[in-house]
């Protein structure tokens, strides 16, 4: 008898359908697995055999052939264990699987169905392909239930799955989880209320949050750059449902979704160490690439402390995803695309010792060393950062006193209002406006235009820099609730550009 069970494997954020065909024929007992299975899938044979035996069912003593279709696709991972076992048993019993259903799960030798990565991504993809029911490991049922319109059957072990299929003891499907909006108000760990002084950097972060701009902070060690960066997620609006699901999907692929609360409303904050490799930051690995830090920071904040210490090739690789909002990586197993729309917050010392420009402590670096350090920082990556601010050490007197700065909440309210204006006007944040749309959506009056042009002439601004300042000015105006870009908005925008010459 023949049985065909559907499953899917993931390539990045996309699924690939796998048909598991099992044929149980009379003849010399054997168990054949064909269809370009990699070593990890070939092992499924042994797991399936043991899992069936240990579930209290005899392993069919027949000529079993399992074909994984399509045969030209290389199959990796252990998610095919459950569909293989189900296909074998159904073929043996002469039953058919329920229509428009798919199976995912790894089997333990005792028949328990174990967690596999990426169930949320798979369930969304299957739903789009018209599947109505998905059998997933019990542990992953909560995350799959976020997908609206697909029936999620939690599978604890193989025997209960078979009893369900035989109609003996149906497993109730998981109630669709509607994301808990109550968590939205959850406060983040770091609040601007705890930051002493640093008004300029606070303002730059507010603009960055409002317009989706990238920020560079330059200042001596201990000035509070890390603290400031950690406050950024707290002044960004909470994730919207679609965004939260995208964030959850990346985590799901990595197997990092907490079982209790799969969807989180707080924006991701990632701070990779400066020793991070290209594969770690951008994504990579053997076979099919897995997502890197930039994809984990999707819809959130990527914080790169000590920017000059990162390998320059790694930094240069950030450019393409920063423009595109996604990254495509090709490895031996094929090429995959991951989302990577993040706000970059970079921090750096002004010189190798960190004290150049400090009013009270002398810098010990030679001019040549400062030059080399600055050169390492400059270039195409820095050219893509809209806001550059100096951060200074806060005077000790100010540290001892109670911080008087604004808390994150009112800042966030302004940011949300400014973002709403942008969405209403142009359907995207200002930082994403291409020059043509910038001219159309953010027209400059003659006065402010002259200011910008005068500056560009005086400082030798590149075309890219010109548009950058323009976008920031638009965001400053949006924060102001103003429809037109005024002179003061342009002037402020130009203030957040560290000169190339100034150390």
């Amino acid at each position: 008898m023949l049985a065909t069970v559907d499953s899917c494997l993931l390539a990045g954020m996309e699924g690939r359908l796998v048909e598991v065909q099992a044929d149980a024929a009379n003849g010399e007992p054997r168990f054949l697995l064909v269809g370009l299975a990699s070593a990890s899938v070939k092992e499924a044979r042994d797991r399936v055999r043991s899992a069936i035996r240990n579930s209290g069912m005899p392993f069919p003593q027949r000529r079993l052939t399992v074909n994984l279709a399509p045969p030209e696709m290389r199959k990796e991972g252990s998610a095919l264990d459950l569909p293989i076992a189900v296909a074998v048993l159904l073929a043996h019993q002469g039953l058919k699987p329920p229509p428009r259903s798919a199976f995912l799960g790894e089997l333990a030798l005792d028949g328990t169905v174990r967690h596999v990565d990426g169930v949320l991504v798979a369930a969304r993809w299957l739903h789009r392909r018209g599947y109505e029911r998905v059998f997933v490991p019990h542990a992953d049922a909560a995350e799959a239930s976020f997908v609206d319109g697909i029936d999620v059957i939690p599978c604890a072990d193989l025997s209960s799955v078979m009893r369900h299929l035989a109609g003996v003891e149906p497993i109730p499907s998981v109630v669709a989880h509607s994301p808990d909006e109550a968590q939205v108000a959850r406060t983040t760990e770091h609040d601007l209320a705890e930051v002493h002084g640093q008004e300029e950097a606070r303002r730059a972060l507010e603009i960055a949050a409002a317009g989706g701009h990238h920020v560079l902070m330059s200042g001596p060690p201990g000035a509070g750059k890390t603290m400031l960066a950690r406050c950024l997620p707290g002044i960004l609006p909470p994730l919207e449902l679609g965004e939260a699901l995208e964030v959850a999907q990346v985590r799901s692929l990595l197997g990092e979704l907490p079982a209790g609360r799969p969807v989180d409303w707080v924006r991701p904050f990632r701070a990779p160490h400066h020793g991070v490799s290209m594969a770690g930051l951008i994504g990579g690995g053997s076979g099919l690439a897995s997502p890197g830090e930039i994809s984990r920071a999707h819809h959130g904040v990527l914080f790169l402390d000590e920017l000059a210490e990162f390998q320059s090739t790694v930094l240069q690789a950030l450019r393409q995803p920063m423009e595109a909002g996604r990254v495509t990586i090709t490895r031996s197993g094929g090429s995959v695309a991951y989302p990577a729309r993040f706000t970059l917050v970079a921090a750096t010392n002004p010189c190798p010792c960190g004290w150049a420009g400090d009013p009270r402590r002398a810098c010990r670096c030679t001019p040549a060393a400062i030059d080399a350090y600055q050169r390492k920082l400059s270039g195409p990556l820095l050219d893509r950062i809209d806001l550059k601010v100096n951060v200074r050490r806060v005077p000790p007197a100010l540290l001892a006193s109670e911080p008087v700065g604004e808390a994150s909440e009112p800042v966030r309210a302004r940011v949300i209002a400014a973002r709403r204006r942008q969405q209403g006007r142009q359907g995207c944040l200002n930082a994403m406006l291409k020059p043509a749309r910038l001219r159309a959506q953010a027209s400059l009056e003659p006065g402010p235009r002259r200011t910008l042009e005068r500056w560009a002439e005086q400082q030798g601004l590149s075309a890219r820099g010109f548009h950058r300042a323009w976008r920031v000015a638009r965001t400053a105006a949006d924060l102001d609730g103003s429809d037109s870009i005024d002179d003061r908005h342009v002037l402020e925008a130009l203030g957040y550009r560290l000169h190339d010459a100034a150390a």
Partner: protein
């Protein structure tokens, strides 16, 4: 004044004829904007008065001095710590060309092809002092090479003068130490000329503000400028606190002042520009 022959100097360009009085301007390689402006202005005024400005072609004060002398239409001599065929730092090749083109010279006691070596620079400083009638120290931190030149000048019985700076700046320590020990205090080119014994038509009101300061009146109208200094950078946040304005507003107004050339950005903040036209961005 007896001028001992410095033997075996190699040179590119001409030793300026007729030989006028020679003043060496020396100081930090990493000056404050104030020091840089002082060196440039002083060199310019001295060159206009016919003085040959000597310096070392290094970054910072040296470069400002050469540039100032060229701006003043004068001649200037660079005493190098490398072979005359090798400009160090390389970024000053253009400046070196300009020095030669305007009738000045690059000179060196070292053989052609000599690379920059730490040990050579004190010897060069000595040569510089030997070639000059007076040495003016502009900004020099403790232990600076400029102080070696000053010591050499004292040993060679040359005039030593110094320009005072901000008492908050570590760069002022060297010059203030020299003044305390009896070096002449320099406020303008006239002070230097007087020390050289050049009798000049003197000298209108000594309290007359230096050229360029007419601009001061215009600047004073903006409330921000009184809180800015020429030597020490102040950041926008601190300024905003002082004038009690939102930081966004202050950043914008600073940019506007920068456009006018009244303010410059400098490591970690803003300083007042000393001259109109400001930034060398």
């Amino acid at each position: 004044m007896p001028r001992p022959e410095v033997a075996g100097l190699r040179s590119r360009g001409r030793w300026p004829q007729p030989a006028g009085p020679r003043v060496a301007l020396v100081g930090s390689r990493r000056p404050s904007p104030y020091g840089e402006a002082v060196a440039e202005q002083l060199a310019c005024d001295l060159a206009t008065a016919g003085v040959i400005v000597i310096s070392g072609l290094a970054l910072g004060i040296d470069a400002a001095a050469h540039r100032g002398a060229l701006n003043g239409g004068g001649t200037t001599v660079a005493v190098m710590g490398t072979g005359v065929d090798l400009v160090y730092p390389a970024a000053h090749s253009r400046l070196a060309e300009d020095i030669i083109a305007s009738g000045g010279a690059l000179v060196s006691q070292f053989a052609d092809g000599t690379q920059p070596r730490r040990g050579n620079f004190p010897a060069r400083n000595w040569t510089m002092a030997a070639l000059a009638d007076a040495v003016v120290v502009v900004e020099a931190a403790e232990g600076s090479g400029a102080l070696i030149t000053a010591q050499a000048a004292l040993d060679l019985d040359r005039e030593v003068l110094a320009v005072p700076g901000s008492i908050f700046s570590p760069l002022s320590v060297g010059a203030h130490g020299l003044i305390r020990d009896g070096a002449g205090l320099v406020q303008n080119a006239r002070d230097v000329l007087a020390a050289l014994g050049e009798r000049l038509e003197v000298l209108d009101d000594p309290l007359r503000p230096p050229p360029g300061a007419g601009f001061e009146l215009a600047r004073a109208r903006d409330g921000l400028l009184v809180h800015l200094s020429e030597a020490l950078a102040v950041d926008a946040a601190e300024l905003a606190r002082k004038v009690r304005l939102p930081v966004a507003e202050v950043v914008g107004r600073l940019t506007s002042l920068e456009l006018e050339g009244a303010v410059r950005r400098h490591a970690g903040g803003y300083v007042r520009a000393l001259r109109r036209g400001g930034g060398r961005a």
